[in-house]
Each structure stands twice: as structure tokens, then as C-alpha cells.
């Protein structure tokens, strides 16, 4: 069947997973590349360790631990895990910042999976240009390859203007030049690279430059955080997927006058929080995104059942 991304998106709205179309040839057939394998990884985001407001999350100290226990109890363990920023809640005190990072890192070490990649959020890196983050979690921008997919971690938070910056853009350009235009690329970042809702600071000031660099590449996906909710958007041929947070949800962009956390609902604890599984399918050349909730029961709960994601529709036809 000849199907393009737009058609595929139109099919969404039912089912238990979001399917993201991968590269296809001119006949619309999958163009899986030889030597690639399927793999599964998990995205966690916006854990905000150190946040303290019981009206927003009365289990601030337990939510991350519950998420980690849930990941550990998955029958199919991910091959690696990515944290897409705001691991800690910011603080002006450099000592306290490091204390929070050390605590978060120690909790994260309880993951069975030891291949963990970290990105910074502005709460981690915006006040000291990423200095403390680098001490505890490593570089803020880097690349790695996994089973035929080229991952690029882009830092749009260490600069307090929420910019990538010319130096990193040059680095990105140099990295991309090494790749074939058909390469499978996943961009990991914290803030949306596109203008999701600049009125709420939901953008990257020079994100358009990064998207221009990526535009010649046919198989790019972007995974990010920052907005504390699931969100999907196409810019050109590039799908962008925001993940839920693990401390508090935020309202849909522009849906309320102020960007303030959604209050905790005792009737539905942990509502709006969760993490994401990403199944990379080599032969079909697509990604399957599955959203998982925080289990309400004890940490020893059974593996979280795959939950249907809220149906998402493209805001317009692409």
C-alpha cells in the first residue's frame, strides 16, 4: 500500500500505540536497511527531583522511584534509557543543585538497565551553563549509534536564552555531513525545536536553524520533553514527540491563561504522568511509541500494561 506520513497520521486515533512512519521508497514500500535490528528503549522526562509542592504532587519523593520500579518490572527490558531533561528542580544554591543531582543519579542507578543517556533541561543547566550537570551526568550534546540508528543529543538549555548556539549548530552541521541523507536519525533534546507555543516559552530560539540543517535528511524523528505532556507535531517531514513528565503535568498549549502545573487529582493520582517506550522496527523502518502510566499500586506492581495513548491528530494536514 502506498502510504505517506499524512495518510498514516489520519489512521491514528484508535489502537494502543502511536506508529510513526519510517522511511519508504518511491513505491511506498518500507526500506529497511540490511544489518539493522529491532530494538526497544524507554524515554523518561522532567523528573524535577527536588520539587516540593504537595498540592501539585504529594508524592514528589516517590514518583521517580515508582517509574523506575515500573521500568524494572517490564517483561521486555529496554536496551537503553534516555532522560530528556529537567532531571532536577533548579535551585540558586550550587551545593543544593549538586545534592539533588547526586540523589537523582543514585535513584536512577537502581534501573536494571545500565545503558542510560542523559540530557539536561534548563532546570539542570540554565543557571550554571551546565557545569554541575556535566559533573554528574556527562556531556550535554553528543551522538551515539545504536543498531543502525544515529542518535544526536542536542542541548538547547545550557544557554539561558534557550538557544542551541552557533558553536553547537556548527557541530550539528558537521555531524550531519557525515551521514547519508537516508540515514535513520533520532534527535534527543529537551525543548521543542519548533515554535510550539512561544507565548509560554515552548520553543527554542534558534531551533529553526537546527530544523533547516535536518531538513535534507529523510528519516528524522525528534523526542523531547519540557512541556510535561504527550504531544505530536510534524514540521515538514520531521515528526516531533513530546513525552509526559514525572512530577506534574502542564496544560495543553494556550488552553488556559497561565502556564501553571495541573493540580493533583486525588481521584486519579499520577494522572498525566508517565513514560514512553519506543520500539524501533528495522524491517518496517518505523517507530512504535507506547505511553505508560505511573502504577498506582506499590512499587512491586505487575508490569504496566500497554496503555492506549490519547488519540492524537495532526493540527493540520502536512
Amino acid at each position: 500500500m502506498n502510504i505517506d506520513r499524512r495518510d498514516f497520521l489520519k489512521l491514528l486515533g484508535v489502537g494502543s500505540a502511536v506508529l510513526v512512519l519510517g522511511p519508504r521508497n518511491s513505491a511506498g514500500e518500507p526500506t529497511g536497511m540490511a544489518g539493522q535490528e529491532d530494538f526497544f528503549f524507554v524515554q523518561l522526562s522532567d523528573t524535577h527531583w527536588g520539587f516540593n509542592d504537595p498540592k501539585v504532587n504529594p508524592d514528589a519523593a516517590g514518583t521517580l522511584k515508582k517509574a523506575i520500579a515500573a521500568v524494572n518490572s517490564m517483561k521486555s527490558q529496554p536496551e537503553f534509557i534516555v532522560f530528556t531533561g529537567d532531571i532536577t528542580q533548579t535551585t540558586d544554591d550550587p551545593k543544593e543543585r549538586r545534592k539533588r543531582m547526586a540523589e537523582a543519579r543514585d535513584i536512577i542507578k537502581k534501573l536494571k538497565v545500565k545503558n542510560v543517556k542523559f540530557l539536561a533541561g534548563e532546570h539542570d543547566a540554565g543557571l550554571d551553563n551546565g557545569e554541575a550537570f556535566k559533573e554528574y551526568f556527562g556531556k550535554t550534546h553528543y551522538t551515539f549509534d545504536y543498531k543502525g540508528v544515529h542518535f544526536i543529543a542536542v542541548d538547547n538549555v545550557s544557554d539561558p536564552t534557550s538557544s542551541i548556539g552557533d558553536a553547537q549548530l556548527q557541530w550539528l552541521s558537521d555531524e550531519l555531513k557525515k551521514l547519508d541523507k537516508e540515514s535513520r536519525i533520532v534527535i534527543l533534546t529537551h525543548r521543542p525545536l519548533f515554535d510550539l507555543y512561544p507565548q509560554w516559552d515552548w520553543w527554542t530560539r534558534d531551533g529553526a536553524k537546527a530544523l533547516d540543517l535536518l531538513s535534507p535528511y529523510k528519516n528524522v524523528e525528534v523526542l523531547y520533553g519540557h512541556i510535561h505532556q504527550e504531544h505530536h507535531k510534524m514540521t515538514g517531514a520531521i515528526p516531533h514527540h513530546a513525552a509526559k513528565g514525572l512530577m506534574f503535568p502542564l496544560p495543553a498549549p494556550g488552553s488556559v491563561p497561565k502556564r501553571i502545573p495541573v493540580s493533583w487529582d486525588p481521584a486519579e493520582p499520577y494522572k498525566g504522568l508517565g513514560y514512553r517506550g519506543v520500539q524501533a522496527k528495522a524491517k518496517e523502518n518505523l517507530y512504535v511509541l507506547t505511553e505508560y502510566p505511573i502504577p498506582v499500586k506499590k512499587e512491586s506492581a505487575e508490569p504496566t500494561k500497554k496503555e492506549s495513548v490519547a488519540p492524537w491528530k495532526p493540527e493540520k494536514a502536512y
Binding site: 535551585t91 539561558p160 536564552t161 507565548q199 531538513s215 514540521t235 497561565k258 502556564r259
Partner: protein, 128 residues
């Protein structure tokens, strides 16, 4: 293309503001016809502007005169062509704005300033 539109959306107004800063430096508070423009003084500190609700008249230019009481802050209005400014302590930062339509325009600090940064916002209420 969306990304190009984005650049165009913000580049022109930012250039205008940049150029206007020279105009304001040379003829502070006066427009081309020599009329005095209203100056609105705004202080910025973690994590608030004061005042944070400002009434304006549609089409009437005003000069916002910012001072920071603690650290570097930002000022950004997405719906006024992406006009922005960096507000540094010890300096007066002036921004000239004109609201073309009646309504409300949200502004916020766009330089991450700490725990509470996301709540550093304000509103222009523009009347006919």
C-alpha cells in the same frame, strides 16, 4: 516552510527594535513628530515584573523602561512580533512597543532565572 516563516516572523521585528534603540537613545521619549511618548517604568526581579498588568491604547506607541533589581532577566512578547530585550542590573533598558490590535498580550521572562522563572509573566491589556 514553517522554520523559515519562524525566522521571518521574528527577524523583522527584532531588527526594528534594534534600530529603535538607537532612536530612543538619541531622542528618548519623543516620536518622529516631536510628541512625547508615554514612558512606563517596570521593575524586574525574581520572579515578577512590577507592574505586571499594563493598560495600553491600540496603536499608541509607548516606551517601556525596565530596570532589574537583582539579576539578568528577559522580556519577550511573542504576539508583538517577538519583541524581546535583555534586562541587566545597573542599566535601564528601553523598549518601544506599539500594539496594533485591542486585546491581551502576554509577556514573560525568556532568560532562565531560577525556581519560579516560569511564573515571571505579565499582561498588556490593549484597549481601543
Amino acid at each position: 516552510m514553517e522554520t523559515r516563516k519562524s525566522i521571518l516572523r521574528y527577524a523583522a521585528p527584532l531588527t526594528t527594535i534594534f534600530l529603535m534603540s538607537f532612536f530612543i537613545a538619541g531622542a528618548f521619549g519623543a516620536d518622529e513628530a516631536g510628541q512625547t511618548e508615554q514612558v512606563i517604568k517596570i521593575t524586574a526581579k525574581k520572579f515578577e515584573y512590577s507592574p505586571n498588568e499594563i493598560r495600553l491604547k491600540k496603536g499608541v506607541p509607548v516606551i517601556l523602561e525596565f530596570t532589574s533589581l537583582d539579576r539578568v532577566h528577559g522580556f519577550f512578547v511573542a504576539d508583538l512580533g517577538g519583541v524581546r530585550a535583555t534586562i541587566e542590573p545597573g542599566k535601564v533598558t528601553r523598549v518601544r512597543i506599539v500594539a496594533p490590535k485591542a486585546g491581551t498580550y502576554e509577556f514573560h521572562c525568556d532568560l532562565f532565572c531560577g525556581d519560579g522563572h516560569e511564573g515571571m509573566t505579565g499582561t498588556f491589556i490593549v484597549e481601543e
